[in-house]
């Protein structure tokens, strides 16, 4: 099988050689000193992945990426940016131009390799995700019947209410965006993990970083053709609001705000259910441990009583045999034996009376088992 093809575009010759050296074991690497020579080569042969330096001599890396992403044939090629620029603005521009990740230069060799691997995996998942969206019953019915915007919203709510986990919630928001002819991404943050989903893939590094930053901003805000809806656990980012149509834009803004709020409520409900399940699992564990400890205790007590009774009986037998050589008269002998018999009988009775406690504990164990069966 042929190796995947990697294009590296960097104006710095040392950087090009280092990138070639890093990837030549697993990729066929071609390097370019500028965007123009890379674009010319792309017309002949499509790469599987591109690493672009931002600071290129004529057209910069963002411009090159925009060109790549504007061509339907090329847009699925993953692009990773490499730049000296640490500013957030650089990352946002990288995201806006369609890049998958942003690596700060100078970089660690291992880190670049790892991030390239992550992007490739993400892109593979993305194609699967796109398949799911286009196949969904909701989408096909919406596109076929050209329902109005409220119908889209109602359909979304219906699917949302059936969503049992955060991925399904994120997926329902994406499907709704698709039905509104919008593109964007959803991030859902629960106490255990964070999920960023778009049609382009799941947890794309640059998208995730940008939305994490946006999530700390206002509840609803817009910049250029983008709009963002922030709730505690949900951030919805729309990249292509129809800003040319103010009326439509206003209606969509209202719908999206409602949808994001509904998704937030659903996420809270899912979190609550999951927390309850975890608490129930914890309680079930405690109940099982308690039940086991009580059973062991009751068994030990039974064993103790049995052993005690046997020991006392052995003592009486031994005493009866031992008393003969003492030469006591029969009355005194009988008196001693009666005394010992009476006292040992008392001891045995006390042992037996503790069976009441065992019965109580046995009943408690049975009740614990019933609770455990009901909690499953």
């Amino acid at each position: 099988m042929s190796q995947p093809l990697l294009y590296c575009v960097d104006h710095d010759p040392v950087s090009r050689i280092v990138l070639e050296s890093m990837f030549e074991r697993d990729y066929t690497v071609e390097s370019f000193a500028d965007a123009e020579s890379c674009l010319a080569r792309v017309e002949d042969r499509l790469p599987d992945l591109m690493l672009l330096d931002v600071e290129l001599p004529m057209m910069n890396g963002y411009g090159l990426c925009r060109q790549i992403k504007s061509e339907p044939v090329l847009r699925s090629i993953p692009v990773l940016f490499i730049s000296h620029d640490e500013d957030l603005a650089a990352r946002i521009e990288a995201y806006e131009s369609g890049g998958e990740d942003f690596i700060l230069k100078p970089y660690a060799v291992e880190e670049v390799r790892r991030r390239v691997a992550v992007v490739r995996r993400t892109l593979e998942e993305a194609s699967r995700l796109r398949g799911q969206i286009s196949d969904s019953e909701l989408l096909s019915s919406l596109l076929l019947s050209s329902m109005d915007e409220y119908a889209v919203l109602i359909k979304f709510m219906r699917v949302l209410n059936e969503s049992e986990h955060v991925e399904a919630i994120a997926q329902s928001l994406l499907t709704m965006l698709h039905a509104f002819r919008l593109k964007g991404a959803v991030q859902i943050r629960d106490p255990w993990t964070s999920l960023t989903l778009s049609e382009e893939g799941r947890d794309r590094p640059l998208e995730k970083a940008v939305i994490e930053h946006l999530s700390s901003m206002e509840r609803i805000f817009e910049f250029k053709s983008r709009s963002v809806y922030n709730f505690q656990h949900v951030t919805l980012l729309v990249n292509n609001m129809p800003t040319h149509d103010a009326e439509l834009c206003g209606r969509l803004r209202d719908h999206l705000a409602i949808a994001a709020e509904m998704a937030e409520a659903r996420v809270q409900s899912v979190i609550g259910q999951h927390s309850l399940q975890l608490a129930q699992q914890g309680l079930a564990g405690v109940l099982e441990d308690t039940s086991r400890a009580l059973s062991t205790y009751v068994d030990n007590q039974r064993q103790l009583r049995k052993q005690g009774a046997e020991d006392v009986q052995a003592l009486i037998n031994r005493l009866t045999l031992s008393i003969v050589p003492l030469g006591l008269n029969s009355e005194l002998e009988e008196e001693i034996l009666e005394l010992v018999d009476a006292r040992t009988h008392d001891i045995l009775q006390r042992f037996l009376s503790s069976d009441d406690t065992a019965e109580t504990l046995t009943s408690l164990i049975e009740r614990l088992h019933q609770v455990l069966r009901q909690s499953r």
Partner: protein, 140 residues
């Protein structure tokens, strides 16, 4: 913001184990990244040539530690200058020695081959690359 670049040369002490050099480099990858130091280390027994570059204070502190390391001697400054950009694009230290392959792990991506390191040094600014090329070509 400009950075400091130092190129030095030194001689390995007798008995130096190259496996130990690689162990140290593996640990220093993370440390260098945190300190934002990049560079290149070439070892052709018994000669070391190393480029250290990054924020001035971090580079000077690292150089001070290296200069007093008991595994080498005759440490000699060859180049010390300021630059706008680092010559090497990786924070971690690139490494080359003809015998590195015998000790390097598969995951030691910072270890370059002789062809790779020769190309890197030829592409560097001459005042940085020349000391490396002298050593590489002298043995070739």
């Amino acid at each position: 913001m400009s950075i400091l670049q130092i190129v030095y040369k030194s001689l390995a002490n007798p008995g130096l184990e190259e496996a130990n050099v690689l162990d140290i480099l593996r640990v220093s990858q993370t440390r260098n990244q945190v300190a934002r130091i990049s560079g290149l280390l070439v070892y052709r027994a018994p000669v070391f040539v190393q480029l250290l570059e990054g924020p001035e204070a971090a580079v000077l502190a690292l150089y001070e530690r290296i200069a007093h390391d008991s595994r080498h001697h005759a440490v000699e400054d060859i180049e010390r200058c300021e630059a706008e950009r680092s010559a090497m694009p990786t924070w971690a230290m690139g490494y080359f020695s003809p015998s590195a392959d015998a000790f390097a792990h598969e995951q030691d991506w910072f270890v370059f081959s002789d062809k790779q390191v020769l190309k890197i040094c030829e592409a560097m600014p001459p005042h940085i690359g020349a000391p490396f090329l002298d050593v590489l070509r002298a043995e070739a």
